[in-house]
Symmetry: C2
Subunit: 473 residues, 2 copies
């Protein structure tokens, strides 16, 4: 799976130029740094860059890209390195550009409910900053305590709140982008509605750093809801839990989170975090975590009661009600740390399938069947309300999906099922390096060719994150 890139080499003259641009302190070649920036959270993969550069602003990034574009040096942009599909892996070597020094929130515009931020701000830091002003930026990937908002833009991230509030793309109004040629543009305007030419903003969101490096971001915000209620509900089967999830929406409710966790995953994370606050019973196959939010507590209580009653039709067990802030925090901690915990437990490979919500039971049955057929163990969890199912895979003898032909075959069968159900292979993680071999399941040659040509429009020399999403030339 080589990218078709005419690969330039980082020479000593380039190193001098990079040092002139950003200063010696921010051009790193030591083994420790190369290793640190050589991996993200994807499986057990490691690729060393030739050099790590930490520019301080868009102009420096522009200057670096001009040099690399001229010399055909591969460039990999990187946020916090929390990605799960290898989008930030420098698999071609070359220059790795970290956006970690672009870490300022530039303006919180309370008059217009907007925030302008640099990409290297941690998502939760941004959320907390606007929260202090009574404002709300909903997209909240599980890694929000460590991931960067810029990476969220690159992956079009979601998170639990997406089910009510939408994903990153629904909040991005305008982006400052350094193109691979070094030119700096704004993609749109700071407005809620925009029908002015092709939507370059939306094209950039989810393009995984292949079309440009985002250096400033304008996000819309909404008023912070005053209250939220949170429950944990056990089910005797995964399918019933998924059916129940669908029924909640059909009954007219829109929860602010509707998460599914298979019992095995919850037991693993429970052990890891030493939880004692949240009760887990043994005759349970899966839980739903359901949150409702709004400005009227009475309405929320009514909703949660109505939802609880509805769930009894799906053989739900006893509802655990998170009474106070601490219990809520405990329960969310359990949910948010699932990926980390099951990874430590050997479930190294994470899939990010998404299907129309009502097809989840069918998908889950398929996962279990395919696991038997292709000899892998799978635990399922994720955003049931969106139909977005994370599948964590453990397979004896392999730490990544790339080197195991049987697993690749199993995943192809899984994704073919996802496609048949009207779904797709990534809901919020992106394609990056490890999923690109499956893109042909989702798209025919016509769509892939459109994407490759769009890539070429932005990056004629194919230097920026080449070989991610698809092989490009």
């Amino acid at each position: 799976m080589e990218a078709f890139v005419e690969k330039g080499v980082v020479g000593i003259e380039h190193m001098h130029q990079f040092i002139d641009i950003v200063g010696e302190k921010y051009v790193l070649k030591d083994e420790g740094s190369l290793n640190e920036y050589g991996h993200d959270e994807t499986e057990n993969l490691l690729y060393l860059p030739d050099v790590v550069i930490k520019p301080g602003n868009a102009e420096e990034i522009s200057a670096i890209l001009r040099i690399c574009n001229e010399a055909r040096i591969p460039v990999t942009p990187r946020g916090a390195g929390t990605g799960l599909s290898g989008g930030a892996l420098p698999h071609l070597g070359g220059v790795l550009i970290s956006t970690e020094r672009l870490n300022s929130i530039l303006q919180i515009d309370e008059r217009n409910l907007q925030v302008t931020t640099q990409p290297g701000v941690i998502t939760e830091v941004l959320q907390d900053a606007v929260k202090e002003k009574g404002l709300f930026y909903p997209p909240d990937p599980s890694s929000r305590g460590s991931c960067f908002i810029g990476g969220n833009i690159a992956a079009n991230s979601g998170g639990p709140k997406a089910v009510k509030y939408g994903v990153v793309k629904d909040y991005v109004l305008n982006l400052q982008v350094v193109l691979p040629t070094g030119k700096i543009i704004w993609t749109g305007a700071n407005v809620l509605k925009n029908s002015t030419g092709y939507n370059l903003t939306q094209l950039m969101v989810g393009s995984e750093g292949t079309l440009g490096i985002v250096t400033a971001i304008v996000l819309r915000l909404i008023p912070l809801p005053k209250y939220e209620l949170l429950i944990l509900v056990p089910f005797k089967s995964l399918e019933k839990a998924c059916e129940a999830a669908g029924a909640i929406f059909r009954a007219g409710f829109t929860p602010s989170a509707l998460e599914l966790v298979e019992i095995e995953a919850l037991q693993i994370v429970n052990k890891m975090v030493g939880n004692s606050a949240v009760p887990l019973t043994d005759d349970t196959a899966a839980h739903l975590i359901i949150e409702v939010d709004g400005n009227n507590m009475e309405t929320l209580i009514n909703d949660i009661e109505a939802i609880s009653i509805l769930l009894t039709q799906y053989e739900a067990g006893e509802v655990y009600f998170a009474d106070d802030a601490q219990q809520k925090a405990e329960l969310w901690k359990l949910r948010r740390r699932v990926a980390e915990a099951v990874k430590l437990d050997g479930f190294t490979i994470e899939e990010d399938t998404v299907v129309p919500r009502a097809e989840l039971p069918e998908l889950i049955r398929g996962v279990k069947t395919l696991g038997k057929q292709y000899h892998f163990q799978a635990v399922c969890y994720g955003h049931a309300g969106d139909g977005n199912l994370h599948i964590r895979i453990k397979k004896s003898g392999t730490g990544n999906s790339q080197d195991d032909p049987e697993l690749v075959e199993g995943l192809r069968a899984l994704f073919a099922l996802v496609k048949r159900l009207g779904g797709t292979i990534s809901g919020e993680h992106g394609i990056g390096l490890v999923q690109k071999r499956y893109m042909d399941i989702m798209f025919g040659e016509t769509q892939l060719q459109l994407m490759r040509q769009i890539k070429k429009v932005f990056d004629p020399n194919n230097i920026l994150n080449a070989g991610k999403i698809f092989d490009s030339k």
Copy 2:
């Protein structure tokens, strides 16, 4: 303002081929038809196509496009012809393809809260059909009783509800598109979250029929809110009305509509529709129309009361409360027919500016000043909650903006102001033919070049709606 297109001619051999594809009945060359399809709702412009074709499905459209692509014949796709920027005007002659026969709702998926529809369905028909199932498709342009959902996709339309529920792009999950080369693709998947390659779906939305002809549309739906309350509030000045609009959001409310209408516009439409139900007082400069919706009537009453109290700080007059369904319908009819009424009154030219919400007073002051300077009269109305201000212009001696150098100069000054305020030149109507000469105010050559090259990726021979949005070659 010629498009750089190597223009092929519709010959007799092509006519025979078109008749073979769709049948004689659906290939029209009579003067009446050419005139009917030679204009839309834009100013007083008329351009005759060589032929009007009404295909019945995607395959027929594909066959027509293959012929035109081969012969370099200009093709203009058209929905209901309600556009306000000339996107459907066949200004290069050639073939006009009407989507009016693709008028079926294909599936309402109640399990997944989705609808699949053909493009030629009238927006309100679609809304009513899903409403019967307790579901809600919010985007509702004023022309929803006559416009097509396909045209809404092309323009990325909005409407009053956008302020709470978002615009068309926020509801489109997946599109079937016939490319200018005749190839038929799906752009995405029927899912709520999607990080699988470049967002071709979002690139297509708002591309005004320049990249492909949409032949099937998958939209997400939401549960229909049970109740809505509607008020009309008079203000002594336009600026105060706009300031009040901003204050509502800052106080944490999100109305489901927040419309502004200048008194002159309301008086004109009032006369036209013979309204007697809604009281209009004389010492008023503008009104806000405010709607809240939700599932809890008590909450809505509390919200409307709190909003009414807040508005007194902005010198609001007496609040008129639309008591029953009929009064609500009367009030909405007044609002929805403003454009039509002021057009009949000589305000032929409509602008679709949008700025960050809090900058509306500044924009309105600018409009009035520029009107004096460039000798035009302007009435303002539109979606104050979104910062989306429609400006209807009357200028003695001209029925369109294209032929009046003084007006063009005035509009350039207006759009420069919009840009300075962080806004853009179209919020929901699109650029089409009449706004493209102002695109350089919003975008530099770099962005325009990206757009032109994207156009070329989809349409190498530049046959499809060429010369719309920008001059392409």
